[in-house]
């Protein structure tokens, strides 16, 4: 049964002239080559959460550099007073440009709010912020996210990364039922 009868059409519909996404296995192969290149060049994998940690250390430093340098979490990203000169932050700057180029080529760039047909924009934005907050906590505890743990650690057969991946999908599948109105 279609859900379009149950509520308004989604706000975030694709523009009529946008191109379809690439085959997921083909993109996965390409992404694997990017990750492999990252290992071969830098000796480390990809990551994303570190960039947010660097920005957080920078914000903390605006208030008190002494505090940012002393806090056990901020101090790892303080980088002797230059937290924004972070490898992961520049990685995400590159990712922003790459995603923008891909989106423009595919005709998929435009201001929208992503949500299912049965939830309001306002509720969706509140849930997006809350989800980000919760995900950040999880990533800090697990020492990595989908990029650093699942992708990078997974391809190295890291035991902790495989446990992380299993836990992510377990929690998300169980919770998916309770937040289904947000998405389907």
């Amino acid at each position: 049964m279609s859900h379009t009868l149950a509520g308004s059409a989604p706000h975030s519909r694709r523009r009529a002239d946008s191109l379809p996404f690439w085959n997921p296995y083909a993109v996965g192969f390409l992404l694997g080559l990017v990750l492999l290149a990252t290992f071969v060049i830098t000796g480390r994998g990809l990551g994303a959460t570190g960039a947010f940690s660097s920005v957080a250390a920078w914000v903390a430093g605006l208030f008190s550099p002494e505090h940012a340098a002393a806090n056990p979490v901020h101090s790892r990203y303080w980088n002797e007073g230059a937290p924004l000169q972070s490898w992961t932050l520049f990685l995400l700057i590159g990712a922003f440009i790459g995603a923008l180029v891909s989106g423009l080529l595919g005709g998929r760039v435009g201001l929208t709010i992503e949500r299912g047909p049965r939830v309001s924009d306002r509720t969706r934005l509140i849930l997006a912020f809350s989800g980000g907050f919760i995900a950040a906590y999880g990533a800090k505890i697990a020492k990595g996210c989908t990029s650093g743990q699942a992708l990078s650690g997974g391809s190295m057969l890291n035991a902790g990364s495989l446990v992380f991946m299993g836990s992510v999908f377990l929690a998300a599948y169980v919770l998916a039922y309770f937040v289904r109105k947000e998405w389907i």
Partner: protein, 201 residues
């Protein structure tokens, strides 16, 4: 012997330029797969669109095969690659919390950047929530770091744990990917009725 960073001392500027270049490929792939869209990402949890697993699993297996071949050929030193130390309780608890944030928020940290780049306001809110979450973690519960360190088992991989070499594991993952591809095709057909009319393709 690779990795390159072991043979060259990159300048700070070169290092960050490499980050931007690799990031470009990373972000391009994420957007091409449709992962700038929270509906495309969360669809994996409603089983009607398994793109997230297809892309992630293929990427992991591709990298794994590459790492194995390069190290077997003697051009890459696996032991010089960084591995995050394993702490079972930290990765279990962190993973559960992260998974909850993923399905509620609709993105993960990397894909939220692809979402922002293509104009998704909810992705911007997710990223702001991430920043607030990291801030809260650092300011309110920095003691968790000690707990993680205390429960760490150091570098621990499946070959370490089992005594079965990386080549056999790589072979097993390739086989598992092909089996999973068939399984996912079945799942997507079975749960096609959950797919909203305007689902991004």
């Amino acid at each position: 012997m690779l990795p390159l960073a072991n043979n060259f001392e990159f300048s700070a500027v070169t290092n960050l330029a490499i980050a931007v270049l690799l990031g470009f490929g990373f972000g391009f792939c994420l957007e091409r797969a449709g992962f700038g869209s929270a509906r495309k990402l969360t669809a994996v949890f409603y089983l009607h669109d398994k793109s997230v697993v297809k892309v992630m699993f293929t990427a992991i297996v591709t990298t794994m095969v590459g790492l194995f071949l390069l190290s077997s050929a003697g051009v890459l030193s696996l032991s010089d690659l960084y591995i995050e130390p394993t702490s079972y309780p930290a990765q279990m608890l962190g993973g559960l919390v992260f998974g909850a944030g993923f399905v509620i928020g609709g993105y993960c940290p990397g894909t939220s950047v692809a979402g922002i780049a293509t104009g998704k306001k909810d992705a911007m809110l997710f990223a702001l929530g991430m920043l607030a979450g990291v801030m809260a973690y650092a300011e309110l519960t920095p003691g968790i770091e000690d707990w993680i360190a205390a429960s760490s088992r150091g570098e621990l991989t499946l070959p370490d744990l089992t005594g079965i070499g990386m080549g056999w594991w790589t072979l097993a993952f390739v086989a598992f990917l092909f089996a999973a591809a068939h399984g996912m095709q079945w799942l997507e057909r079975r749960f096609a009725h959950l797919r909203p009319l305007h689902h991004p393709r």
